[in-house]
């Protein structure tokens, strides 16, 4: 029994982090049609910022989220906007986001040490279930991811700006002809994506640790979750994250610890080969995200 609880705890923390990264990816993919290869670097930069800001704790989290939002907008304005206007392909734009990520990686190493950081948890203490100790930080991580998901869902479904995002995601020119400020809306999308990625990095830091090196692996797990979920659906991102982390937990437990990520990727490969639209269907769903 304890074993299963242990597995569930590990998988749920991973799922929360992957889901946030996938959410960030999906928002940008819908808004700009670009796979944001810089997402891992934004998460890592945000997490490192959080670990080193002032006395840490909640003020540091709020500040790092604000910084993350700015980074998201900067990623759009600096790396995507100009190419987009001159008609660069989404492949090229994806590489520009990677370029932005590399720049962030450099500054993260410049401002702070090139090492791993494990800040003090936001919520100290732990719970005991059976023989298993569950740190409050892990519980907080899952709750924060769930709240974040619900907020995003509420924004997309219930707010004017969310409808504008849907319209832009459907077709930019159509949205523009209805008087939607497409650049403004896209900026909001990237801002949200930046905040969410930073939240992932900041939540991950106290649980394990955060460094520049986790940027790519983090992004890759997020890709896997997003693609399994259909790369276009917000709920799919969360579902994909759960599937990926459960598969990883099972592989670690019953097959091999060393092939955990490889299996996530075999899963991704299989999903892409058999059902490229992912488990949540359409690449682009207009309503009912």
């Amino acid at each position: 029994m304890d074993l299963y609880i242990q597995m569930a705890v590990g998988a749920s923390t991973n799922a929360a982090i992957y889901a946030l990264i996938a959410l960030s990816l999906v928002l940008v993919y819908r808004g700009s049609g670009v796979v944001n290869f810089g997402v891992g670097y934004i998460a890592a930069f945000g997490g490192i910022f959080f670990s080193n800001f002032g006395a840490g704790g909640w003020p540091a989290l709020v500040t790092s989220l604000a910084v993350g939002g700015l980074l998201g907008m900067a990623a759009y304005l600096l790396s995507v906007r100009i190419g987009e206007r001159s008609g660069a392909s989404t492949t090229f734009l994806a590489m520009a986001t990677l370029g932005f990520g590399l720049v962030l990686e450099y500054f993260a190493g410049k401002f702070w040490a090139k090492e791993g950081f494990s800040p003090k948890p936001l919520w100290r203490g732990s719970e005991h279930v059976g023989g298993v100790t569950i740190s409050h930080e892990r519980i907080l991580t899952v709750i924060a991811a769930a709240v974040c998901f619900l907020i995003v869902l509420a924004i997309l479904e219930k707010s004017m700006i969310g409808w504008a995002m849907e319209a832009v995601a459907y077709r930019r020119s159509t949205a523009a002809s209805y008087g939607v400020n497409t650049v403004g809306v896209t900026l909001v999308v990237w801002l949200l994506a930046g905040v969410i990625a930073t939240l992932a990095g900041s939540l991950l830091a106290p649980v394990t640790s955060i460094s520049r090196e986790v940027a790519l692996p983090l992004a890759i797990q997020g890709f896997a979750a997003a693609v399994v979920g259909g790369l276009g659906s917000v709920s799919g991102a969360v579902l994909g994250a759960i599937v990926v982390s459960v598969v990883q937990a099972l592989v670690v437990q019953y097959i091999s610890t060393s092939y955990a990520s490889a299996f996530a990727f075999i899963l991704l490969f299989v999903v892409l080969a058999l059902k490229p639209q992912g488990i949540m269907g359409g690449r682009r769903q207009v309503r009912h995200t």
Partner: protein
């Protein structure tokens, strides 16, 4: 029929004889780039010799060139965003050193095995990702790369695991040791780079290279030219995999140590950036890309580990301001500032008249007629075509008219295999075409043109038309890549034939202009020429007159009659009634996906329902 074939055979021989002299001249010229390449590596070799630090950098640059060039084939030419390329490179490196060190193979067979491993790895990646494009292909191949890293890391007994593979023997050739890091090894790597340059250059100009670029620019155009996109894609993976494997072998013997870091994602990112910086898809792109790589790495180290910053900034600048990279930028500057006498292709787009001389058309073997039988097509509940049956005879021009949304283009899509009907058949003679892929239909002699022209914008018109000759090539893929005589003969014949067709459509003067540079009216005719190059039995023209002046439409009418006179059946879709009436003796009318009328042109055009469908019910009211 047999005399006809003989006549063509003799004319082929004439063409080849004529092209032999021009080719001799061209061959003399084509040695110039090779000489430049040799000169470059020799000068670099002499400059760095004596300085171990720079020897290592020069050797790495030579290896990086081979690796970048191989990525340029798949990413630059074929437009496939594969992130498994570094892993394929690693497969080559590991295969060769394991065979050499653990199994005591000789370096040459081991190197060949490494290349083969690269080829097989490429094939392995291409199979499950055959239907993926763009970002999805990138993520799928990324998964492959990531899995490869884990396998190598975990199979420590074979690969040395995360700490790497030690004890790689230096290359021993002709009784001489080429130790990585010495000037000897530089000469070896430089020679390999020059050989690869020659291969890339030949590939670039070969029929295979043309197919890659066509695939990158438009899959629809590729299929319409009778080219199988899936095998073309696999071929791109195989060729680039083979050469990436070779680069891996070179790298392993340069550093004499490999580890999972040798082909990590960072390496993948670097080759991506270098390719883009130099200019993706340009022959010289990797050369300039590698030069930029060396500059950035050295500059970055001076500034204190700032390489990621410089790479990141460079890639953003390239994507934002110069998507064609350094070589593309240079080309643009050259066009703007070079003395006009040196510029090529500055000819004006002349608009000659189509020759009235009978078009020398070789129709495909007679298939009888093309019959559409009881075709029904639905899109999510909307019926686009309802129980449609009609036929086109060989040598006739059948007009197809109907209001917007009547299903005209859907009919062409069904016949050519782009859309599968819910029921019904399309018979070419006795063969049902339903279920065949568009390229298979094109190869069987049913060829179409598109409402919006589908030509490769970066090719000149004659090269675009040559794409249509692809299926007549006698040379195999291998011969094409290294441009053996049979392949060069194919090309000479294809070019001659393409020029012929362009001349007959009155646009020979524009033959050397890029498709992106010529006016619309010329593009439309070039597309007909490309379709004709496939020697169709039936030609389906989807609004060839749209957006043309009445003079240009007359030209196209002349061309269509020439096509029909040669025994080719044509389906002509257009909105302009007088254009269709001029070109066709028989007409069918579609409205709301149903056949409204069929018969001789005058009869159909005076049909009440047709008038109603087109002009509304004014006449009745």
């Amino acid at each position: 029929m047999s005399t006809d074939v003989d006549a063509h055979a003799s004319s082929d021989a004439e063409v080849l004889a004529r092209s032999a002299t021009t080719r001799a001249r061209a061959r003399a010229l084509s040695f110039a780039p090779l000489l430049m390449a040799v000169l470059l590596v020799v000068v670099v070799g002499l400059l760095v010799s004596g300085n171990n630090f720079w020897i290592l950098i020069a050797s790495s640059a030579a290896v990086a060139y081979v690796f970048t060039g191989s990525f340029n084939v798949i990413f630059g030419n074929a437009g496939l965003f594969s992130l498994a390329h570094a892993a394929i490179y690693g497969a080559g490196a590991y295969t060769s050193v394991i065979l050499e060190t653990t199994y005591h193979w000789n370096v040459v067979p081991a190197a060949l095995a490494g290349m083969l491993a690269g080829l097989l790895a490429g094939l392995l990646v291409s199979l499950p990702t055959a239907r993926l494009a763009g970002a999805f292909l990138a993520l799928g191949t990324l998964a492959f790369g990531f899995a490869a890293t884990e396998v190598v890391t975990n199979q420590a007994s074979v690969t040395g695991g995360p700490s790497g593979f030690l004890g790689i023997e230096p290359v021993k050739l002709f009784g001489h040791d080429f130790v990585g890091g010495t000037i000897d090894y530089y000469w070896l790597a430089a020679a390999a780079a020059v050989v690869c340059f020659v291969i890339f250059r030949r590939l670039d100009r070969s029929a295979v290279g043309r197919r890659f670029v066509a695939l990158r620019e438009s899959e629809i155009a590729t299929q319409a030219a009778g080219i199988n996109p899936i095998t073309t894609r696999m071929l791109a993976f195989c060729i680039s995999g083979l050469l990436a494997g070779f680069a891996g072998v070179l790298n392993a013997h340069l550093t004499l140590f490999i580890s999972p870091d040798t082909f990590s994602l960072d390496v993948m990112i670097q080759v991506l950036i270098v390719t883009l910086l130099g200019g993706a898809g340009y022959l010289l792109g990797p050369v300039f890309g590698v030069a930029a790589l060396v500059a950035i790495n050295q500059g970055g180290q001076r500034l204190g580990d700032a390489s990621p910053l410089l790479f990141g900034a460079a890639i953003i600048v390239v994507v934002s301001f110069a998507p064609t990279g350094l070589v593309g930028l240079g080309e643009q500057l050259w066009r703007r500032f070079a003395p006009s006498g040196l510029r090529r292709g500055a000819a004006t787009a002349g608009d000659g008249a189509a020759t009235t001389e009978r078009l020398k058309v070789r129709p495909a073997a007679s298939h009888g007629d093309l019959r559409v039988e009881h075709v029904e097509l639905k899109f999510q509940g909307v019926t686009a075509i309802r129980d449609l049956s009609f036929h086109i005879n060989a040598g006739e021009v059948l007009g197809l008219i109907g209001p917007n949304g009547a299903g005209k283009t859907s009919v062409v899509n069904v016949i050519t295999g782009r859309v599968r009907p819910n029921s019904g058949s399309v018979f070419l003679g006795d063969e049902d075409l339903v279920g065949r892929k568009p390229y298979q239909v094109a190869r069987r002699g049913v060829v179409r043109t598109f409402q919006t022209t589908q030509l490769v914008p970066t090719f000149d018109l004659v090269t675009n038309v040559m794409l249509g000759r692809d299926r007549f090539a006698k040379a195999g893929v291998g011969e094409q890549i290294v441009a053996l005589p049979r392949s060069r003969n194919d090309d000479a014949l294809a070019r001659e034939r393409a020029m012929d067709l362009l001349a007959h459509l009155g646009i020979a003067d524009s033959a050397r202009l890029k498709a992106s540079e010529v006016p619309y009216g010329i593009l439309r005719r070039a597309e007909i020429a490309k379709a004709m190059a496939l020697e169709p039995a039936f030609l389906l023209l989807d609004e060839p007159g749209a957006g043309l002046s009445s003079y240009e439409r007359d030209e196209i009418t002349v061309a269509i009659h020439a096509v029909a006179d040669a025994g080719i059946g044509c389906l002509l879709i257009d909105h302009n009634i007088s254009f269709v009436a001029n070109a066709c003796r028989r007409l069918i009318v579609l409205a709301n996906g149903e056949l409204l009328a069929e018969g001789p042109t005058e009869e159909v055009l005076s049909h009440d329902q047709v008038i109603a469908a087109y002009l509304g019910r004014v006449a009745v009211a």
